[in-house]
Symmetry: C2
Subunit: 648 residues, 2 copies
């Protein structure tokens, strides 16, 4: 198996990672090459002893025990095969098995990527411990559960008081499956240092978790290896609750009007998630029993409907959720097909529609920790907005509706092949240019292009600041009044398009987009008023939409405040990333609770202050143009190029 | 409704107990007449304020507020209707509603009777709290769960972190059912100060618990009012697991040989208990949802089979149970029909066959706290034995078999109508006298009479110390050899009996009883040897059998050590009483854990020391007659009366 005959094949446990190690290389260096973090406080100088490992097999292939080993390790440890990994070098070819005990493991920084880098310690709530202890006898008839708990205390200094009842039921059998000369060997899985949730015979290191992002439209399931922090597989599908209604309110109404409706909705989303679990476990080739926890994010309604909590009251004024605190429920209580003793953990809820998804976004954006005054918007059917900094932060949820996602737009489509994703309009000719996803002809406009189109139509003066087609452009070849008497702009003429007819943007479409952006803009402004500020330092966008949107266009229509364009940042699917973070680092969960405590929830629904701001925000970019100096300047520059129309 | 026109009808809450109170009588005195304990540290002199109550309605019927009220109660309290109950007297007829707040309630001593008196504080693990708080609004949009928890903290200083998931699901609805002028009113049920397990609209004081004694043969269910400590109803039935085998080993074998056998056994016992719950709730006229906890006792095998824990290993050497610690499981996890958020709580296990039933007996007997050296025996198919005092105590379980309960005896029957329950034999004529349960003719011999008969046959010299019929009595009219060549003594001749034929005791029957008593006796002697003692100060008997047995007869055959007969005490169904104790007093549960820690478990099965003692204990009363000086003296006295036979 050795690629070079002189190397030794060293396998590191508990990861079971193998490396071909050349003569003279130390076990410490070889581990680091594999990405395994071994503690070495003295820098590998043989001074501190923190890098000790257990050579289980193949000691013959290694250098002899050194003085440093003898000094820093106890006689018992030496007898058990302990070595300083910085001192032990490969000397001869062969196979070497090395266990890095948890005390020597460096909690290495994990980087979650998706455009966005986050470094954190790998410190999951779920831990596995290998235990060896004498089999029961007439002389030592300690009960099974107490025997396992005693071994945990003796071996790891861990005092665990609870055991899942399902584990206790099978414990007498499982505990005795692997015995050698009167010594039993088991792996105990411990949840949050407090409960034994699995006991397996022998050593079973596999340990996975799920991060689940339950969107109103789409569900995404990430299978994460809790030993390494790596994502092993991903699966997503439409939220099966959609058959009870595309939007939240229709689903909530369904539960009110149908006996057992809540149970139907729970069952449908759980079935969907179980399908995803089936997919990711098959892809990764692992057993679902080795998934011990699933961390969930989603909006408050998704939280309630998944957990079968009565959703009526959070869906109507004053929009109060059933709970703020994180919700941990045994997987078997909800029917989710992971280890039956495992847990489903929902991040906490700030208030109303500002749910675990927004808390997750805040966890990732971290702007509640920074001095810069930041607006963070998670754009979806409801736009979750936070404004503030480390001193003070307000959050709210604004009813944007689906227009920004391309729905309720005459030729709106999802971001798929054939969808127009970028639009620009020549200020001179007023003719459009556009980009299409994939190779085909354009068959519609997706959300990002809808924003682009409106921004461009405004910039070049096709529409005025109220969003109305200007009289001066009515004779332009691409502007016409349709059969219903509605003015429209032809983006793609028939023949050039992939559909039977033109692709157009109508006056009504523009109204829809104006209302959507005005809701988010007004929500933001309400929070800014609450903070007593007129401007912010930066804008952070979360959600898939934030990835596709053109920051310039979005600012031009007024979706968010006027800031230097380079300070607009997109976090990608921050909600899903936050769920993974909470899965891999227990501190992140505490932090999520702190976030909920730190932010103030503002319920804008039905308030005069929101209504007033909404009316002003219907303008492009806002009734008070002076709030948008950068937009104003840019629009004037473009119109200067060719003064086709007057300033609207 | 008033019996005398001048009295007022005063109802005390939370008990809803009503009293006709004469003019001039104080609310404090009237409460005491009803058995309601109201704290009154100053003796009802209006000095301490500890007797304060809330007059909810009918203040017009009472005397005016006194200076003492004004001094000892705050302005807020006075406004809320608080009064010193020692100062407020009835003045006019009418209806008065008085709430005694928990701070004013005296935790009265509760006496559990069943021959045996135990006094203790009423301090159940389950508590109910009436909460009132403002309905959610746009200004105060704290989530529902946190609102309830906040009201608990504000009103009662109780910080409760958890809420049952089933409660959370329905909380948004139930919380809003009872609203007056923007104030919501609910009753929260809290388990062990840590978890909200029920929320009901308005004030709902009903609060019950079950004490369940799961015997191998019989299941008994006591419905207990947790507000008063009173037993509201009792139901018992044969353990339905009997159809899988009358004894434990057969049932355990069934689980091993049949897939799903453990689930079948769990289902069968749970069905039986649910039938009992149906009966007791119907009899008491209460809703099963108001039962919040069930405390269980039973032997270790019953514990395992009820909880569906693998029983194979506790059933075979070295007889190690799955756990020692108390087991608390949500009722819904096992399918027991009490409040779904409620708990099933099994008392802890000492070791092997010394299960929650024996721990419960020790809790009631309390001999682990006394200086006197005591033998405590719970007689059943397995005799659970403890020997020791406050300094040191050993426990074990001895395989007595069912003979002492009348099984495997030729004419053995259960203690029912027609069963002979007492036997004596005239030392002169060697003719028997007997007592029968009920009015009918005797149809068999129950356990207690079997012991009587053997004791009498030995005392009068019909059998020798080895339990064998003596040659000298073979010609007696009541002694004969039957068709199988076995010698037998005719207790009731045909014609006089209620069956078709004689009622007899055979040589084989005597052997069965000898083996049963020898098992218990040997178990006791092993523990005495372990303690290095030859004699004990007293004997305590537990179990129904201990109630019926004649202490003199039992000592004569050697069932327990020779002690002054007046020190032999019977506790009745101590296991069931201990379960009620643990239900009503949380300290008793802690005490049960202490008991398990304090006692040393000795596994006698398969040991030489048990085998040796067993052989010596086959003798009547023991091979070493000098261990039984009082028995010896009495036998000699009786034989002196008429020296019919020689000393055996």
């Amino acid at each position: 198996m050795n690629e070079e005959t002189e190397t030794a094949a060293v396998t590191y446990y508990p990861w079971e990672k193998e490396s071909q190690v050349a003569p003279g290389e130390s076990l410490l260096d070889a581990a680091e090459d594999l990405g395994i973090g071994v503690e070495a406080l003295c820098g590998g100088e043989g001074l501190c002893g923190t890098c000790k490992v257990v050579v289980e097999d193949g000691a013959d292939c290694l250098s002899a025990v050194t003085d440093a080993d003898e000094t820093l390790l106890s006689a018992d440890q030496l007898a058990d095969g302990y070595r300083l990994s910085c001192r032990a070098t490969v000397e001869a070819p062969g196979r070497v098995d090395v266990t890095v005990p948890s005390v020597s493991q460096k909690s290495g920084g994990i980087v979650l990527t998706e455009g966005n880098e986050m470094e954190f310690e790998l410190d999951p709530v779920v831990r596995k411990y290998h235990l060896e202890f004498p089999a029961p006898s007439l002389e030592d008839h300690t009960a099974d559960a107490e025997r396992v708990m005693g071994a945990l205390a003796d071996g790891y200094g861990l005092s665990v008081a609870d055991m899942d009842h399902g584990v206790r039921r099978e414990l007498p059998n499982r505990m005795r499956e692997e015995e050698t000369d009167g010594t039993l060997s088991v792996t105990a899985t411990v949840y949050d240092d407090g409960e034994i949730i699995d006991v397996e015979p022998g050593w079973a290191g596999e340990m996975y978790g799920l991060a689940v992002d339950v969107g109103t439209t789409t569900v995404a399931v990430y299978l994460v290896d809790l030993r390494t922090g790596e994502t092993a597989a991903v699966s997503s599908q439409l939220n099966p609750q959609s058959r009870f209604g595309g939007d939240i309110m229709t689903r909530v109404r369904y539960t009110r009007r149908n006996e057992g409706g809540r149970e139907e909705l729970r069952e449908s989303i759980v079935d969907g998630i179980n399908d995803c679990i089936d997919e990711v476990t098959t892809e990764a080739g692992i057993a679902a029993e080795h998934i011990y926890e699933s961390v969930f994010v989603g909006n408050t309604a998704m939280h309630h409907l998944f957990l079968r909590i009565e959703p009526s009251y959070v869906a109507g004024s004053p929009y109060v959720p059933a709970n703020h605190a994180p919700t941990a429920v045994k997987a078997r209580e909800l029917g989710v097909d992971i280890n039956a003793g495992g847990y489903l953990y929902w991040l906490p809820i700030s208030g109303g529609w500002v749910g675990p998804d927004k808390v997750s976004v805040l966890l990732v954006s971290e702007h509640y920790r920074e001095e810069a005054m930041t607006v963070c918007i998670d754009i979806g059917t409801n736009g979750e907005i936070s404004v503030g900094n480390s001193e003070k932060m307000w959050v709210t949820s604004a009813p944007a509706g689906p227009a920004l996602e391309g729905a309720e737009i005459t030729h709106g489509v999802r971001a798929q092949d054939g969808a127009i994703e970028r639009v620009d309009i020549d200020p001179e000719t007023l003719l459009p240019t556009y980009e299409v996803i994939g190779d085909g002809a354009p068959n519609g406009i997706c959300g990002s292009a809808v924003i682009d189109a409106l921004a461009a139509m405004f910039t070049v003066g096709l529409v005025d600041r109220r969003g109305q087609f200007r009289d001066a452009v009515m004779d332009h070849e691409r502007v016409r009044t349709n059969d219903q008497g509605v003015v429209e702009y032809v983006l793609v003429p028939d023949g050039e398009s992939g559909i039977d007819g033109d692709v157009v943007i109508t006056q009504n479409d523009i109204r829809e987009i104006q209302m959507a952006k005005a809701a988010i803009q007004a929500g933001t402004l309400v929070l800014m008023e609450e903070l007593g500020i007129d401007t912010v330092d930066r804008v952070v966008l979360a959600g898939g939409f934030g990835n596709y949107i053109d920051p310039e266009s979005a600012m031009t229509v007024g979706l968010y405040p006027d800031v230097p364009i380079e300070t607009v940042e997109s976090l990608g699917n921050a909600a899903g990333i936050g769920a993974q973070l909470a899965l891999l680092n227990r501190g992140a969960r505490e932090e999520a609770k702190n976030v909920v405590d730190a932010v103030e929830y503002f319920e804008i629904a039905g308030t005069d202050v929101f209504r007033d701001n909404f009316m002003e925000s219907m303008y492009l970019p806002h009734q008070d143009y002076d709030r948008y100096p950068r937009v104003q300047e840019r629009v004037e520059q473009i119109r200067d190029v060719e003064d086709v129309v007057q300033r609207g």
